[in-house]
């Protein structure tokens, strides 16, 4: 009973984390879309993008928050789907952890990349 309950508590906490990260994502995606529309006026070049992002700490912080929200949100959702489909906790845990690590590393690398302009 204790284990079942602690699992239920964990699930409820994860649901909360996913809900809050969804709110952050909603905001981030809207801002991101506006930036995209702004960025593509008159063509899209690497220089233009890096010109805006390089050394711009506000850009870097915004996109790192975006990455962290994805890092929380997507793996929980994937774990739920996998668990409902295969009902094997091992598979859902392994794959969602892998996804979490990938999102975090690739996302953060990209943020550092556009901030430093590839200098690192």
């Amino acid at each position: 009973m204790g284990q079942v309950m602690s699992q239920a508590v964990m699930q409820a906490k994860l649901w909360y984390a996913q809900r809050i990260s969804a709110m952050i994502l909603g905001l981030c995606v809207s801002i991101h879309l506006v930036i995209i529309f702004y960025a593509i006026r008159g063509g899209l070049t690497a220089e233009e993008i890096l010109g805006r992002t390089q050394g711009n700490i506000a850009f870097a912080i915004f996109y790192e928050i975006f990455v962290l929200a994805c890092f929380v949100h997507a793996p929980i959702g994937l774990a739920n789907i996998l668990e409902e489909t295969f009902s094997k906790r091992f598979i859902s845990k392994a794959l969602s952890s892998l996804l979490a690590v990938l999102i975090f590393i690739l996302g953060t690398t990209a943020v550092i990349g556009v901030y430093t302009g590839g200098a690192l």
């Binding site: 079942v4 309950m5 239920a8 699930q11 409820a12």
Partner: protein
């Protein structure tokens, strides 16, 4: 139209079985329950089905009509007939006993499982509990209290279908109603019962229960209320204690 005939396919058998077609005279203001009753009285007395009040109060005559779970007593043939044919099957997601009668035991056991019953601590010697009609709790309880347990939502729920242990919309709706009953004394047990894999967080918010509920209740909203309450209790504790 009153002179024509309806082609009615009715499920005969148990879990295994087949649809059998009957020809039933078409009448004005005829309900689906009238059709089933005609078949049993005039065409085949071995047909089994369940009904009691015939006026939408008891919740015993729900069946799957043209693929959708409904009360047969409050569904006029004219509302749903496709050409001249009807298909009448037992409710989904419940074991079939015979023909159109399902075994509702699991459905009601899940109400019990969700602590979907009232328990107070006042006796006959105590004064009446005073619950302000306008208080938020009373209003929230009101929203879901008219459920009569017909099983239409349960039979329409995709999550119940894919996850047979899921408590289901009716049980969770009742649990939510009771979490808003200020006189009830088993709140923490109830929160524990509706947490976890088989509880409120399994709901996909697809809303079939709300769409199909003949009483126009919103189990989806009740379940959303439970999700928030349980999650808060898991993170910060609740006014009744820690989960």
């Amino acid at each position: 139209m009153s002179n024509s005939e309806l082609k009615v396919k009715v499920w005969r058998g148990t879990q295994e079985g087949a649809f059998v077609e009957y020809l039933v005279p078409r009448n004005p203001n005829q309900t689906v329950l009238d059709v089933v009753t005609f078949i049993q009285r005039k065409l085949d007395p071995t047909l089994s089905y369940r009904f009691a009040c015939r006026v939408g109060m008891c919740g015993s005559c729900a069946m799957t009509v043209n693929g959708v779970a409904r009360w047969t007593c409050r569904t006029h043939v004219s509302q749903i007939v496709e050409g001249d044919s009807l298909e009448i099957a037992p409710l989904n997601n419940l074991p079939v006993i015979k023909d159109l009668a399902t075994d509702m035991r699991e459905f009601f056991n899940k109400w019990k499982g969700a602590v979907g019953f009232f328990k107070g601590d006042a006796t006959r010697h105590d004064d009446f509990a005073r619950v302000e009609p306008e208080s938020p709790e009373r209003q929230l309880a009101n929203a879901g209290i008219e459920c009569i347990g017909c099983g239409v939502c349960y039979s329409s729920c995709e999550v119940v279908q894919s996850r047979p242990n899921y408590l289901g919309p009716a049980a969770l709706n009742r649990a939510w109603t009771l979490t808003n009953d200020v006189r009830d004394v088993q709140q923490l047990d109830r929160l524990r019962a509706v947490a976890g894999d088989e509880g409120c967080h399994a709901c996909h918010t697809q809303g079939s229960c709300t769409e199909r509920c003949p009483k126009k209740l919103e189990p989806t909203a009740s379940i959303a209320g439970l999700k928030k309450l349980v999650a808060r209790a898991a993170v910060r504790g609740s006014k009744w204690g820690k989960l």
